[in-house]
Amino acid sequence: MTLNTGMQVNRIDDYLWEIPPSEKAGMLVPARIYASPAILGAMDRGVFDQVTNVACLPGIHRYALCMPDGHWGYGFPIGGVAAFDPEDGIISPGGVGYDINCGMRLIRTDLTLAEVQPKLELLMTELFRRVPAGVGSRGFVNVNRREFREVMRKGAAWCVAKGYGWEEDLERIEERGCLDGAAPAHVTDYAIERGINQLGTLGSGNHYLEVQVVSEKRIFDRGTAAAMGLTGRDQIVVMVHCGSRGFGHQVASDYLKIFEKAMRRYGISVKDQQLACAPFRSPEGQDYFGAMNCAANTAFANRQVITHQIREAFAAVFDSTPHALGMQLIYDVTHNIAKVERYGDGEWLVHRKGATRAFGPGSAELPDCYRAIGQPVICGGSMETGSYLLVGTNRAMHDTFGSTMHGSGRTMSRAQAKRTVRGEQLLRDMKQHGILVKAVSMSGLAEEAGLAYKNISEVVNTVDQAGITKKVAELKPIGNIKG
């Protein structure tokens, strides 16, 4: 079929579409898009242009992929996945995203909706007080430069050693919350100065902390849910979406400038300036990889400190302890990263930008508690509609470099959302629908209204039907904190 992209898009099956290399000069591999026919038809043109630009990058392997929550991004589309030969392929900040290791974390509790509802106002106020959000917010963890470099090297483990978390948390974080190869020497002073005061802060934009409920009727796979500690029975869980804040953005910006010059030296040309890249094995490529790992580890630490604050808030409000409340971490996944991963046909540098790792059952990288069921995948929806917990599959290992979607994806611009709905009215409407919101910025709240996003259920059903992840449970919001 020919969409309004001017490109031939071939149907592979009901949920997978392919643009052949003949459709754009320079494409080295086909581009593949996971989407239902309805989602494909509604995708913005930028996705088609950008995913085919990615297919032109040196060293790309098999396909340039885009997930069903895909939309226009900087360089790669959001939802973009691509694997490169680590020996003669490239690394690109545009394939990781500015917010390095932006990711999702889900924490369970033994509490029920009936127990939380009477104290919800108090709980949200306490969470809002303990987890800073919004422009210029600073975290409660004060570190000097030496300690911040330790955070860059050790990630979540640094937090656990300082008492901000439990040892058992680490096995339930992708890569145990610490990527090897972090090189603080390759991080600029600008990045350090932007990040050093932001540990334990949410940020703004689409980042949030959400108290959610899992009801029995919204559990799709009871056995897998039970293995993750979800029993249904209107159980309360807490979801966190945030990343490396200004620190990661500065790392990305610093290296985009370096790569623009490096590309000339290495004779690389790209279709879009935001795809600036360098050979992975080049000094510039390795320096970026080292700095990117620093930002990734800082993001793991950020979410770990926030988890500590969430546990403390619940303990204070329910006059208990986090252990007694059953506040185990279910999982923490990154959706903006580049990592060397091993698949059947070798080792590849996998870029995921607005896409989540989704390793299937049996993967050696998974902790014992999840090896039989596959990796938990946390997908955040809009604050009005809810989110999903899924699980990785072996089909993803074969078809998508162990990757899947990350969220619902926007369909409306921030400016249009603000014109369509006012933050104060949205706050009142959501309260009427049983969702209590604490927000720093009313205009920022309006930008994140549910109407600005795709229907997450349709996106989730696409990856479920495509077999690259399976639905476990739907999570409905009852409280939300936004910057």
Binding site: D44, H71, W72, G73, Y74, I78, Y98, D99, G134, V135, G136, S137, R138, Y190, E193, R194, G195, N197, Q198, G203, S204, G205, N206, R245, G246, H249, Q250, A252, S253, L256, D272, Q273, Q274, R410, T411, M412, S413, R414, A415, Q416, V440, S441, S443, G444, E447, G483
Partner: protein, 146 residues
């Protein structure tokens, strides 16, 4: 004449974009600065208790505007401030080898209780970034990552 700016709707669905115009380079820089300042917080709610003088030099005007706007984003995070206004001077070096910006940036530490805070802009991007000379002056298109 003071410069003007307007936010652009459909350029960056998940982020923000604006177009600034001025009949001179200082007017263009002033308008683009205002657009960024207003993206972060309503300047009418920001007091004038923090000041910083900034000197920057770049080889071309595109890079000078790009780096200047990114400097504001850096200061927002590094010093936890938002801005009321900036007074700017932009000029070519006498030998035309570079462009120079001198600015006094005025604002206040972030205060969620008194300021109307807006988007926590993370950076200025090169996506569709352009500074162009028009028949009547200068125009810039800027996409902000939020």
């Amino acid at each position: 004449m003071p410069g003007t700016f307007r936010f652009l709707d459909e350029i960056a669905v998940a982020d923000m974009a604006f177009e600034a115009e001025g009949d001179s380079l200082p007017a263009l820089f002033d308008a683009a600065t205002q657009a960024l300042i207003q993206s972060l917080a309503d300047p009418a709610t920001v007091t004038q208790t923090w000041r910083q003088t900034i000197d920057m030099e770049e080889s071309d005007i595109d890079t000078l505007l790009f780096e200047w706007l990114n400097r504001l984003v850096y200061l927002k995070d590094a010093q936890a401030v938002v801005f009321h206004h900036a007074t700017l001077a932009v000029r070519a070096m006498p030998d035309h080898s570079a462009w120079h910006l001198q600015a006094e940036l005025v604002g206040a530490p972030v205060d969620q209780t008194t300021q109307d805070l807006r988007s926590d802009v993370k950076g200025v991007t090169k996506h569709l970034y352009a500074v162009t000379q028009t028949g009547t002056g200068w125009k810039a298109r800027v996409v902000l990552d939020v």
